[in-house]
Subunit: 217 residues, 2 copies
DNA sequence: AGAGAACCGTAACGTACGGTACTGCCATCT
DNA sequence: AGATGGCAGTACCGTACGTTACGGTTCTCT
């Protein structure tokens, strides 16, 4: 599998045309799900099947390239913990929660997660790992420094950042992702997302907020 | 789709032989995922394909029947809220959390959710709805009376049982289900499940436990 | 015992799709 | 201008699998 361009790790090394093809594949993936055909992709992208195979090796290669291409598009700015107070910490957490909810409720995320989940069943590729790496684990990498900074500023109290993160993850996501993946209609308006973000943040602070305000800094 | 026995709603109305066939299909589903073939099911169940089609209509019919058959097997005892104190409430919540974690980390649940998720993409059947109904919503139906009883006993304080349930759901499940569905190796031993259950329960009580002990009853 | 249905095992059919080969067009290079 | 190479478009091949058909066997009921 994936012989031609086995080195498509990030969104680099892709020509404009190739990116356009992957965008077409992505749109088709959102519309059709995992039962998109190579012919359909070629038609949508106005390219030949032979080109698809030359560039991406095989169907799995095209799919992983598509997923990684989408992943490379969502790089988010880092938050720095300098001069952190309870207000800025709260704002950061709410921002993360809101962003995350928006991501997992987006059509593309749902489609990508669906195909990744089904592929994870029969281990022909590592789509699941890719999605996991650019989803849940990327979120952890971006959020943990904030949590650590909050602890350093005496605002948070936890022993293990991983555990704290997972709790936050659970408070934010709850049953949303699995329900959406299973096809539940669940309209997440801007308003409800905002409300859920502050709720989750408040709950998280109630659980992990430092009782005292120590080591003033 | 599913013309022959369109009325397989619950596990009733199934002969012994049919149940055996569905068990075979279930085992095969766990092993092979969604790419099980009708031939393989027939071979595993020692029955003919003609019988499969006569009983279940088509492939989708067989799959939904299999999912419903598995769902019908997990009926759990109800908890009654009589004479509830903080200890029994805690025990109930921990029990629910532990059971739920055991379910979602089981091989069969993972396999069933995987196929349901992938089928939810292309709406050819309602596998997603079936799984949702017998999973997340069944859990809510069973847990909410406990929460209400806890509130009535003055142990819990919440305005909306649904919101409280969803928080509990998030605290228990966190990232477990999506990670497992995406193929993450995540060994949930009996010990870690137990630990997670008490942690989630403690966190839930910290968020929703009544501050005062009112309306003694 | 005998008729009839249910059912097993398997062969056969049709189709959808992944993958490959071929042809001709267009752009770039010399 | 002629040559070269990348690519669109399409025809083609092989295969896997859903679905159907059928002969032979076992079970059931009378």
């Amino acid at each position: 599998m994936l012989q031609a361009n086995a080195d498509i790790d990030n969104g680099e090394e892709l020509t404009e045309r190739q990116q356009a093809v992957l965008d077409a594949a992505l749109r088709l993936l959102v519309e059709e799900g995992d039962n998109l055909t190579m012919t359909a992709v070629a038609r949508r992208a106005s390219c030949s099947k032979e080109t698809l195979y030359k560039w991406f090796g095989d169907r799995d290669g095209l799919l992983t390239a598509t997923v990684q291409w989408q992943a490379s598009k969502v790089r988010v700015a880092q938050v720095d913990g300098r001069g952190m107070d309870v207000a800025s910490l709260t704002a950061s957490l709410e921002r993360f929660a809101s962003d995350w909810l928006k991501v997992i409720s987006s059509d593309t995320s749902i489609a990508l997660n669906r195909v990744a989940v089904s592929h994870a069943g029969s281990g022909k590729d590592n789509l699941g790992a890719v999605v996991l790496e650019n989803g849940r684990f990327a979120l952890a990498r971006r959020l943990k420094p904030v949590l650590e900074a909050g602890r350093l500023a005496g605002l948070l109290d936890f022993s293990d950042a991983e555990t704290a993160f997972r709790t936050f993850f659970g408070l934010v996501g709850r049953d949303v992702q699995i329900r959406l993946l299973l096809g539940d209609r669940l309209e997440l308006t801007e308003a409800t997302i905002g409300g859920d973000a502050v709720r989750a943040t408040q709950q998280f602070l109630a659980l992990f907020g430092a009782k005292t305000r120590p080591q003033g800094l």
